[in-house]
């Protein structure tokens, strides 16, 4: 049909001159000389350029063990980047939530909130990144050769163990391993991160080991290091992965309470900790959407108790990005010490494990995760418990981030 239409058009314009004759070739834009920029008010610099204010609403109700727990929050996230005339040099991120909790029970995405019944103002991320920190003392050639290699981070962010650094679990019900493994999934830390070479990234930090509040009681803190596949593996093959080590002392009240031998050896709540972790995530296309498989495993010890954790997750997202389902199995084994118990106390079991299913309808599911809006149903069946009875926890969640 196009050919039939085109033929008379060609005939119609025979002999006409080219319609684009006479249009001047594109002129170069005014040269962007760094020195030529006018100084701007500081408010423009702070809020006008590379400043993002995101809003968040989360409404969640969970039922388990005959109890109905509710957790509703309003949140804010601030993202800000600073640049000199020729380079982006720093970024700041913070997340704050104003939360109302009633009747808290142990749900997978709110361990931290167990002791926060009622109103609570809480922060999540709070960190500053400084990019290419050695640039001021480098030649241009060295800057070019080391670009992206020496970035410095200070503040509160995800632990450098497992896939947490590469995964935004801020709003999801299904969580990764760290909160159960260490008692917190974020910590206060300082250290370096960047590209090691074309294939590997690194993270190397000193962590306070204190979890929510930056405090030093009797713990020495931890060193955390992670080597991970460069991001190009994710974009080219859908593959992420890493190998991590964390060692030192952390504050973890739950770790002390669940193991008599840890309680016997820990200095207050400061637990001597060692973990080695391996993680991987693979995303593949199928005709109707995407499948993603996740694995996190760690081994190590709390004081003298051997610890082994495993997490397996499979997810499906429909091509429309409107519907997603996921299943997760997690198992945390600890060789609970056989030391003497307090009279009348029951010895904890060695294993916490559960299986969870999750179905989500997305109103918005931006691929960059800059706009998210969903309603989610999650059912978690606890299979084995170290302490307490096994339960089935049903969670309904409404979430919007924009």
């Amino acid at each position: 049909m196009a050919i039939l239409l085109a033929a008379p058009m060609v005939a119609a314009r025979a002999g006409e001159k080219d319609p684009f004759e006479g249009i001047e070739p594109p002129k170069p834009p005014p040269p962007e000389k760094p020195a030529g920029r006018k100084p701007k008010p500081w408010t423009d610099g702070l809020f006008g350029e590379n400043f993002t204010l995101k809003r968040e609403i989360m409404l969640q109700a969970s039922h388990g063990d005959g109890e109905l727990y509710s957790r509703h929050s309003l949140g804010l996230e601030v993202l800000k980047k600073w640049s000199t005339p020729t380079a982006t040099v720093a970024a700041f991120n913070t997340q704050f939530r104003f939360v109302r909790r009633d009747n808290p029970i142990e749900v997978s995405n709110d361990h931290e909130g167990m002791g926060r019944e009622g109103w609570y103002g809480e922060f999540h991320n709070f960190y500053l990144d400084l990019y290419n920190v050695f640039n001021p003392v480098m030649s241009d050639a060295a800057k070019g050769a080391n670009i992206g290699r020496f970035n410095f981070r200070i503040g509160r962010f995800y632990l450098p163990m497992g896939l947490n650094l590469q995964t935004d679990t801020h709003g999801t019900v299904l969580q990764l391993s760290n909160e159960r493994n260490f008692g917190f999934e974020r910590d206060w830390y300082a250290g370096f991160w960047g590209s090691l070479n074309n294939y590997l990234n690194y993270d190397l930090y000193y962590l306070a080991g204190s979890g929510y509040y930056p405090k030093f009681r009797s713990q020495s803190g931890m060193l955390g290091a992670r080597l991970s596949l460069a991001n190009s593996f994710d974009t080219d093959y859908g593959l992420q992965g890493g190998l991590a080590v964390m060692a030192g002392e952390r504050l973890d009240k739950m770790a002390v309470e669940r193991s008599p031998s840890v309680a016997e050896r820990a200095d207050g709540h400061a637990v001597d900790t060692f973990r080695v972790g391996l993680d991987t995530r693979y995303r593949c296309n199928i005709p109707t959407g995407w499948l993603t498989f996740t694995f996190e495993g760690t081994g190590g010890r709390d004081e003298r108790d051997a610890v082994l954790t495993q997490l397996y997750q499979a997810e499906y997202l429909h091509r429309s990005r409107k519907v997603g389902v996921a299943a997760q199995y997690r198992r945390f084994w600890q060789d609970i010490g056989r030391g003497p118990m307090m009279p009348g106390m029951e010895r904890p079991g060695d294993v916490d494990s559960s299986i969870a299913f999750d179905i989500t309808y997305y109103f918005r599911n931006d691929i960059t995760q800059s706009n998210l809006h969903w309603i989610k149903l999650n059912v978690e069946q606890q299979l084995q418990r170290q302490m307490g009875d096994r339960n089935t926890i049903v969670t309904l969640q409404y979430y919007r981030y924009w």
Partner: protein
């Protein structure tokens, strides 16, 4: 009661607040390394966020994008509030490149198309698929295919609108002469989606960086097409 009022006040503030420019658009997965690959001589780079719904005149730009693209925008990948990230690449104090990426829907999923452009001429220096979920991925990612885009400008795409109708065999139609490496093969639609993505990327660059310098070509193409149609009637 005070807490409830505070909660409601926070809620009101959240709903009233206007988001400023975003910093999380279609970003390079590892900007430092990726930009170094595109511009080996670089020393530093700047990231700048752009988001039409927070820009002065953003609605007009969004309408202009839709019109100049010549097709509807996808409700998932191409919304009014989609964030974009611009990378300006420096060698010392000199700007040596502008890099920008977009997401477009393809047959097999998302296609992320980055263009490295010349800051003076606005010509494509290199086309890179960061993410390409397609049975045709191997052919489209091949250097021979991507090399065809080097030197193209947005003007070539606007001219193509006219030549494709008036002179389909014209040598001046540089876009029309691009070779489709997956003709008749699975994922052929992703060739068309990729062309659309390159065009969208160049339109956005024209709006964000190049001060709409290719607009005369668009206007002239539209006028010439209108004349043709009128001549036929």
């Amino acid at each position: 009661m005070k807490r409830i009022l505070l909660f409601l006040a926070v809620a009101a503030a959240l709903l009233a607040v206007r988001r400023a420019e975003a910093a999380v658009g279609c970003t390079l997965s590892n900007p430092a390394r990726d930009l170094k690959f595109l511009y080996p001589a670089m020393t530093t780079y700047r990231e700048e966020a752009r988001q039409l719904d927070t820009m002065s005149g953003g609605k007009a730009m969004f309408d202009a994008l839709k019109q100049r693209l010549g097709s509807d925008l996808d409700p998932v990948y191409e919304t009014y509030d989609t964030p974009y990230t611009l990378y300006t690449v420096y060698k010392g104090d000199e700007v040596i490149g502008i890099v920008h990426g977009v997401n477009v829907p393809g047959r097999g999923g998302v296609i992320q198309i980055f263009l490295a452009t010349d800051p003076k001429t606005a010509e494509v220096r290199q086309l890179v698929f960061q993410r390409l979920e397609s049975p045709a991925a191997r052919a489209l990612k091949a250097a021979e295919f991507r090399k065809q885009f080097e030197g193209l400008t947005l003007a070539d795409f606007y001219k193509h609108d006219y030549y494709a109708v008036a002179e389909p065999a014209s040598d001046k139609d540089r876009v029309g002469r691009l070779t489709n490496p997956v003709k008749g093969a699975p994922g052929e639609e992703d060739f068309t989606a990729s062309l659309r993505g390159v065009r969208k990327n160049l339109i956005l660059l024209d709006l964000f960086v190049y001060e709409r310098r290719h607009e005369p070509f668009y206007q002239r193409a539209q006028e010439a097409l209108a004349k043709l149609k009128a001549g036929i009637k």
